[in-house]
Amino acid sequence: MKFLFLGLLSLLPFRTLLAQEYPMPSKESMAYHEARFRKSIPPYGLAKVKEMIAKIQPDADEAEALSSRDYLSLSLREKFTYHMIHPETYAQNCDAVPPVMDENKKIFSRIPSSFGDFIWSKRQADFLVENKDSVCALIKESALRSKRIGCNYKEAILEMNAVEMIPFLVDFYNRDKKDLDLLTVFLQLMEQNKYEPFMKSASWKKLYSENASYEAYLDYNSANEALILQRVTDFYKNYKR
């Protein structure tokens, strides 16, 4: 009987478990949490790439990579699809990111990681950097078609240090101003390029200084939003290519 009860308990959705201990995040907050972790699935050769992945990963339990021969047989667009849906190696021991209160009203210091226990291998990260122009073009094309930029696309933008995408991303953000992780991408681009006006700001201190927590965030409000957009636009204009 005890086992039956425990078994049933394990089937309870997270929302129910959460309700037992905490003030519940609102429906909007929970929905936003789920949206933050949604990936973009590129359409380029998707069926072919999925079929190849299925052959190397029969039980979906291991980090597996396509053989060099199979990998090299893919076109650039197909490689892009492969990387966006299949990380090849293990990620280090890390915290799960649970929903938090008012997640939809927070501009976090870092975007969530896209692949849980897995991460892009060196050849995958190298592909993104070495084919930056093409990858940026594919991300733009895919984002315009699907009207969203998934967490994997954001991660790729940061991996490539794609400062040149800032004008596109600002326009994309301004369409509905709902994806606050795009503001986070701006913050991370300014941080990783050590943009001086940002590094001297109160925002940087709160988000990235020595004593900042990894989960640090800024409240979403029109003043913070305008400041980030203005700063990242200035950063882009002054960025030395």
């Binding site: 291991e62 190696t89 890390c94 649970p98 226990d117």
Partner: protein, 272 residues
């Protein structure tokens, strides 16, 4: 026949030697408070535990070597050539794949072996490898709750000494640099330190924070049904204040059960 008997004796001697070199402290059966308020991964609650004994130190390279010598065990990293290693210069949370790395060369052949580090914790082993060691040694991994009760040593704060994170330097081998772009040896060690080099917690356990993440058995409140993820706790030599500051009694990490990193290790427990 004589040969088989000899091998059996050798195995018994090695097992006893490995266990003798581990010291344990007894934790009595009882109710213990674990977790933290408003922390869904590890909510504050009271748990009831049976008595157990937990090793004072993490399992060392010498102890793991005795296991391998006795059994011929081949680790995940040796079979799959997919261990993840570190060298200064990497971006935050980035590791290098190194096909040459395994427990005897935990950061790859080019970064040296463990011959001068036999009293350091074994690393570059997976959760599955740690379980294999436990099966051989007659021990097991601590549950998430057992690990936390032992780490807390009666405290109800984030750290066993209170809430001041900066006191970590007396008790743990962690990363003291702001990032991982350049080496940090401020506490004397960039990678692992010898076990029991830093001060113990009030119950006499060494390195519960820092040195290596320690694999634990069990599931968290956030694990999906049918999840095969493993968990490890306590932070490691890689963890800094800014990145993965898991050197505390509350956080719980997720890791693939076959992943081998040079900051992952374990300590063992026995039933009382």
């Amino acid at each position: 026949m004589k040969y088989l008997l000899g091998m059996a004796m050798l195995l018994i001697v090695a097992t006893v030697a490995a266990q003798d070199s581990l010291r344990f402290i007894a934790v009595p059966a009882g109710s213990y408070v674990v977790g933290a308020k408003n922390f869904p991964l590890n909510p504050k609650r009271t748990v009831r535990l049976a008595a157990f004994r937990i090793a004072v130190t993490e399992v060392t390279n010498a102890q793991f070597a005795a296991f391998v010598q006795a059994t011929g065990y081949v680790t995940d990293a040796q079979r799959r050539h997919n261990a993840m290693v570190f060298e200064p210069g990497l971006k935050e949370f980035r590791w290098l794949e190194d096909s040459t790395a395994y427990w005897e060369y935990p950061n790859g052949v080019s970064r040296g072996d463990i011959s001068a580090k036999m009293d350091h914790p074994v690393t570059c082993i997976s959760f599955a490898d740690a379980q294999a060691y436990c099966n051989w040694s007659g021990c097991r991994l601590p549950t998430l709750d057992e690990w936390e009760v032992a780490a807390r040593a009666g405290s109800d704060t984030r750290y066993f000494w209170g809430g001041d994170r900066d006191a970590i330097t007396a008790y743990a081998n962690v990363w003291l640099g702001h990032d991982h772009l350049s080496a940090d040896t401020a506490d004397g060690y960039m990678y692992t330190a010898p076990v029991a080099h830093f001060k113990p917690n009030p119950w006499g356990l060494y390195d519960v924070y820092g040195n290596v993440f320690e694999f634990c058995e069990g599931r968290t409140a956030l694990d999906k049904p049918n999840s095969t993820q493993a968990h490890a706790r306590g932070g490691s030599w890689w963890c800094s204040k800014n990145s993965c500051s898991f050197f505390n009694s509350v956080d719980i990490g997720n890791i693939h059960r076959h992943a081998s990193f040079s900051n992952l290790g374990f300590r063992v427990v026995k039933a009382n």
